[in-house]
Symmetry: none
Subunit: 152 residues, 2 copies
DNA sequence: TTATTGTTGTTGCACCACGAAACATGATGT
DNA sequence: ACATCATGTTTCGTGGTGCAACAACAATAA
């Protein structure tokens, strides 16, 4: 299970060096094989260890290609899904269409989200966090309701 | 199983060079033999490994030729279906009627969708994705409902 | 506390494979 | 016989991959 946000620089070839603390777990889980795709709600990428991704892929195959909504999901998720593999130095190459989608240039945030990672450009991440905090401090009703269960 | 989108240039003869990462799987699955037809819902082509296509063809032959809707399906799909075979350089020739249907000229997208590929002209693909994302970010009700099942 | 050594992470560089394009050869049909 | 179309070949440029040197950090001992 992955946690925490790390700032990382892409190298000149668009490769992302996975923080050392995650490398061992990733070799065990999935032999370094992962799948990266876009997040359809937010301007970021999602990075799944292969076994985690396969669960999602299985669900996607069961959708009907005749239903426009389901088809759209398949197009967005599968169409942008890309195999990535950690190289011998623990780096992985993000394909240029994906980099483009998330606006990745140099500085990015790798954010552990339990069974997956999110990849944000640093600017987008800062912006998102600022907005989330603002909503929170203004007292979003739905969020407050959910927090009742949490006793943080 | 095929995933991800790749940009490809048609050569002057209308041949499409299959990305190296798919070539091996295609020689194994179907000895490079595939069938290409039109997508009846979208301005793109569908490319099936021969064994996958045969499954579909079987279903189509079982439809009643008396029912006008089913008859139309047969006409559209079978009528446009075209055998393609990878040449020794991993390229395949797209017939000109099919190129015309999808508006393929030079730049195209080859999109892996598990058991098949979609072939889009680059413009059409970009347009489609932009629209899909827009629909998504405006909060399509039906899609949100489905996403509940996905825990992406 | 500081110096030395070892280990881990990062960056730059060089090689190789793949893809794009132009060209060459062979088949087909008018 | 020539034009046209399909298939094969070669060359060149770009981009992805691995390697190796260097920098940063941690550990140990003087």
């Amino acid at each position: 299970m992955f946690r925490g946000a790390t700032t990382i620089n892409l190298d000149s070839k668009g490769r992302l060096a996975i923080p050392a603390k995650y490398r061992h777990a990733l070799s065990i889980d999935c032999d370094g094989k992962m799948v990266c795709t876009i997040d359809i709600k937010q301007p970021c990428l999602l990075l799944y260890p292969l076994p985690e991704w396969q669960v999602i892929e299985k669900k996607l195959t069961q959708l009907s290609s005749m239903n426009p909504t389901e088809r759209r999901l398949q197009r967005l998720l599968l169409g942008h899904a890309d195999d990535c593999e950690m190289d011998k130095n623990g780096r992985l190459l993000i394909s240029s269409p994906l980099r483009l989608h998330a606006g990745l240039e140099k500085k990015l945030m790798l954010v552990g989200q339990l069974n997956k990672f999110e990849i944000w450009s640093e600017e987008a991440w800062q912006q998102q966090i600022a907005e989330d905090l603002k909503v929170e401090q203004e007292g979003d009703f739905e969020l407050n309701e959910r927090l009742e269960d949490f006793s943080l």
